[in-house]
């Protein structure tokens, strides 16, 4: 399924064409045209088939939307359910029980652990160590991969305990959950979580031992920030250059546009600037909110500047966040008391519902219009990868010259490895476009 540029390289041009990116989620391709040592065109082509999710949710009830939007991404369904449920609860002014609020953070910790463990060990580490995949890595360093799989299983087990299954959980509903676990059900996970915490800490050392291409730039970083906690379900949208807006005001600061070579829109700030979301942005903007064990790991690693400036080192940010997520999960469970009801009743209300939460790959913005029957009239869902597209292409343009001296295959691998550093989720990116034209058949 290769999708290169339609025409071959012109005279004097060098052409890098990766038909299908591997070890990324979804179908994306990379096309780079270089002339006389300068990149004249860098395209992250997304040929993932569109599934029109924004149209699929029209006419549905809020609880149905929560089940449907999970299917946008197999790796981070919790993120879509969290952004959706909080948007609806904000519009319907639903007071949720504090224990439910902490369970939702625990839910996200589970997804971060599972998603980051998958990306660090199975998708990204092989690049640093020169293996095509974790399968070959396991042949040489079996216990590293086994430790990683155990940690990933713990993340999945935590999501499954709250949501019945790790992929497309089914208990999230407006007002809370359809079922909340008993305290001892969660306590049963503590041994595995403590083991995962140790694995997370050793992951930080493992990542510290890696070496990556020296490519640095000063990106505009955007993430959530919350007065009291490391950002997940709540807070405001901030940037490292002074942006500070409410969650439902995403459209005041950012906008999307369609490009010819991709089924996914690309986002930029309203001023047309490129910006970056994800673990690197979160850690840089919220280092002071990290769990003490994670903060200690970050200082021990000593790569804060590299995390901010060099996209390859996002792997370090993910390792630090693994320590944070496992440590916070342990604390939440220790303090957990089962609420006497799994969800608070609510009444739908017509109006607009906007919210953003921090998916493993970065800020995920949802916006819904609810009609008077309580059904969805229109929807806009902006995932992190579609917002990162422009930044990825900008970085490709800046980085490419430094690898031109390498043999073609080696250079292509370095370019692919750069794309993998953003942990792109292409299936998500393909469905979310700014809704400019009213649907004709409404």
């Amino acid at each position: 399924m290769t999708h290169g540029m339609p025409h071959g390289p012109e005279a004097g041009e060098r052409h890098f064409d990766v038909g299908q990116l591997t070890r990324v989620e979804g179908e994306g391709s990379l096309t780079l045209r270089v002339r006389d040592g300068a990149v004249i065109e860098a395209h992250l082509g997304i040929f993932e088939a569109p599934r029109y999710f924004e149209r699929l949710v029209v006419g549905r009830t809020p609880d149905e939307v929560i089940d449907i939007v999970a299917r946008i991404c197999g790796i981070c369904p919790v993120a879509y359910q969290m952004s959706a449920v909080h948007a609806f609860e904000a519009l319907f002014e639903v007071e949720i029980d504090p224990a439910i609020r902490s369970l939702r953070r625990l839910f996200y910790c589970g997804e971060w652990i599972e998603s980051h463990a998958l990306h660090i060990y199975l998708l990204h580490a092989p690049d640093f160590l020169g293996y095509p995949s974790a399968i070959e890595l396991a042949r040489d360093q079996r216990e590293v991969v086994e430790r990683a799989l155990t940690m990933k299983r713990t993340g999945n087990a935590l999501v499954a305990k709250l949501g019945a299954r790790p992929i497309h959980p089914l208990t999230v509903r407006v007002g809370g959950f359809s079922r909340v676990p008993a305290r001892d059900e969660l306590l049963a996970l503590q041994p595995a979580l403590h083991a995962a915490l140790l694995t997370a800490q050793s992951t930080v050392d493992f990542v510290g031992s890696l070496s990556a291409p020296g490519f640095e730039r000063e990106p505009k970083l955007v993430a959530l920030r919350h007065p009291g906690e490391y950002p997940m379900n709540d807070g405001r949208i901030v940037s490292n250059d002074g942006l500070d807006i409410a969650l439902d005001a995403w459209r005041d600061a950012f906008a999307e546009d369609q490009v010819a070579w991709s089924n996914a829109l690309q986002a930029r700030t309203t001023a047309g600037e490129v910006y970056l979301l994800g673990p690197a942005a979160r850690v840089t903007l919220n280092a002071d909110r990290l769990h003490p064990l994670a903060a200690a790991a970050l200082t021990r690693l000593g790569k804060q500047a590299l995390i901010r400036r060099n996209p390859y080192w996002s792997i370090a940010a993910r390792a630090v966040e693994l320590v944070h997520a496992t440590a916070e999960a342990i604390d939440i469970i220790d303090a957990y008391q089962r609420p006497d009801r799994a969800f608070t009743p609510w009444q739908p209300r017509a109006g607009e519902a906007g919210w953003a939460t921090e998916a493993p790959r970065g800020l995920l913005f949802h916006h819904y219009e609810i009609d008077e029957r309580g059904l969805v009239a229109s929807a806009q869902i902006v995932p992190p990868t579609s917002q990162n597209q422009a930044a990825i292409e900008a970085d490709l343009t800046t980085f490419a010259p430094s690898v031109l001296a390498l043999p073609h295959a080696e250079a292509t691998l370095r370019l692919e490895q750069l794309i993998r550093s953003y942990d792109p989720c292409i299936s998500c990116a393909t469905h979310f476009l700014d809704l400019r034209i009213e649907p004709a058949d409404r």
């Binding site: 399924m1 569109p50 599934r51 149209r55 799989l149 208990t171 649907p439």
Partner: protein
Amino acid sequence: MPGTRHASAHRPRVGVVKFASCDGCQLTILDLEDQLLAITEKFDIVEFAEATSNRSQGPFDVLFVEGSISTPEQAHEIVQLRRQATMLVTIGACATAGGIQALRNLADHDAFNRAVYPQPQLIKSLATSTPVSEHVAVDAELYGCPISGSQMLELLTALSIGRRPQLPDEAVCALCKRLGNPCILVATGEPCLGPVTRTGCGALCPSFGRGCYGCFGPKEAANSASLAAWFGTLGQSDEQVAREFAKFNVNAPAFRAVVEAKR
């Protein structure tokens, strides 16, 4: 491979490819954390874009296909892949029934395209999202959204030691009763598609306080008309009943029949 009792010398060549999907079913394979390394020793995974940079266009002894056919290229691509696969196994509701994106099969496709893309002309997409079995012959199917990890493991084990894979086609209710759940439809009146849905997930929804919403698609002899009529007697409007069946297996015949009758 079936019938060969002794571990065959050559490891079967296995491929995992995707069409229009969310990658959740492929990830279910990677989520078999305890058995993943044993699987990679038993089977030679030659194509699995999400997991390895080693690529192969075939031949495959077993090819797992995730995702529905929803673009002209995909309709062409699946035929090429079929030629390369001795055994083609579809995994997940997208591949077996067209997924939730098949909702557009019931609607006007242009409206869909215009509603989502400011420049719809740039998007090459078919008017319908269809299951793989409508394009090529399929040898086995793993249902579900996502598929069940234990069913994938049972299929791999059956392939490895040559027994019939134990993939029961009974209703979700059978396991729901074995687990000791009271029927949520009878006890609370909340609609539950369990009686017409194929087992596989582990009766998760009724075990977690809500009605089944049909992830594994209609079971054999699924009498969805009778259940839809019963939902009517419980006070659901035709439009609500249609929505119950219009989810991740909306394009499966037994469910689609209700959606089209009640819309």
